[in-house]
């Protein structure tokens, strides 16, 4: 059972450097909403959104708005940036 985690403030993690992804999160409107801009959106857009979504769920976050700017990040980077963003977003 994953403990529910509440995003308390806007937070960012990552960068728009090549192979990275910039994640911005803020309190949601009762659900997970993801906006993605990616250099490989046509090919991998849905996969990237799924990694973001699954990481949020794993971390107990289900009420959040996410804006992501991807520059070709692999899954490990996407997960890491989402986790860092959540950590920053829950700190008071």
């Amino acid at each position: 059972m994953v403990t529910k985690v509440e995003i308390k403030k806007m937070a960012t993690a990552g960068s728009v450097e090549s192979n990275d992804i910039l994640i911005m999160i803020s309190k949601g409107e009762g659900n997970i909403h993801i906006e993605l801009e990616s250099v490989v959106e046509k090919q991998f857009g849905e996969d990237i959104k799924k990694v973001i979504h699954d990481t949020l769920i794993e971390e107990g976050v289900n009420d959040v708005k996410v804006i992501a700017k991807d520059k070709g990040a692999l899954d490990f980077t996407i997960k890491a940036r989402v986790k860092a963003c959540i950590k920053r977003g829950v700190e008071s």
Partner: protein, 286 residues
């Protein structure tokens, strides 16, 4: 394992992390210290954890944590203690910081190698005391940029100002029978300068070099690799020792030169570096 090159990889750079296995270095040092800006320390730890948990690495992976006198020392250790890595590089190494690291590793049963990075005057003058603290230490690493700052010395390409430091690190390392890693050459475009600097360090007794640019890896690997002629000579020394031992001789001559214990040890060290060492050679000097 003898490391000719240890290449620094910035801990918060996904592109460099995912390429780290194909850059040709014998080992990499994932850096959580100077290469990571203060507001990004948390993100770098998480990125490094995700990277190392995702990829099975072929290259030896060390992590440079932040120093004991920073607020990040124990946070870094907590973040990396369960990762599949080769070891830890301890910056600003001194007797106190090495003792604290050893204490933490004992409490957490960490079976990892340690490379203390000596980059302060007090660290340099207590280098032997540092290496005697732990059997986990596999090499000493000279950090000349911070050291010369601490000494008030001008850092130059000729590196005369670090000759004493190099020799002191080498002596402490050899006294413990571990590796001596030289400071990186910081001009990434000057390959001729790199060759001179590496030769100077190797001639003094350094056994490997740390690297900040992938462009330097191949040249340094080449310079720290024994030549075919050196390997052939070392193997002839070994054969000579075997024959002398059978005859009960202490010293013997090979190709007109007297071969005694220091030359035999040098030959055995070279064979270790080249990968031609055999277990049976352990008996040769007994």
């Amino acid at each position: 394992m003898n490391y000719r090159t240890l290449l620094f990889i910035p801990g918060n750079n996904p592109g460099m992390l995912q390429s780290s296995d194909i850059l040709g270095a014998d080992g990499v040092i994932i850096d959580l210290e100077d290469a990571v800006a203060l507001p990004e320390k948390d993100a770098a730890r998480i990125l490094v954890r995700e990277y190392l948990s995702t990829f099975k690495s072929k290259t030896a992976k060390f992590i440079r944590i932040n120093p004991l006198d920073s607020p990040y020392f124990y946070d870094d250790l907590e973040a990396i203690k369960d990762l599949n890595i080769t070891g830890i590089v301890l910056p600003k190494a001194g007797v106190e910081s090495m003792s604290k690291l050893e204490e933490y590793m004992n409490e957490n049963n960490l079976d990892l190698d340690v490379i203390p990075l000596v980059e302060t005057a007090i660290g340099l003058e207590t280098a032997l005391d540092i290496v005697l603290i732990s059997d986990r230490i596999i090499g000493l690493f000279l950090g000349a940029e911070d050291l010369t700052l601490d000494l008030g010395a001008k850092r130059t390409k000729e590196s005369k100002e670090i000759e004493y430091a190099r020799s002191r690190i080498i002596a402490a390392s050899k006294a413990k029978g571990i590796q001596a890693f030289d400071t990186p050459f910081t001009d990434t475009d000057d390959i001729e300068g790199l060759k001179i600097d590496t030769k100077n360090a190797k001639d003094l007794g350094m056994t490997g070099k740390t690297v900040i640019s992938p462009r330097h890896v191949e040249e340094i690997n080449k310079m720290f690799s024994p030549t075919v002629a050196e390997i052939d000579y070392a193997l002839r020394v070994v054969e000579g020792v075997k024959a002398a031992n059978e005859k009960g001789l202490g010293a013997f001559s090979l190709e007109g030169k007297m071969i005694d214990a220091p030359i035999i040890k040098r030959a055995l060290n070279l064979l270790r570096m080249s990968g031609d060492y055999k277990e049976e050679y352990d008996e040769l000097l007994k």
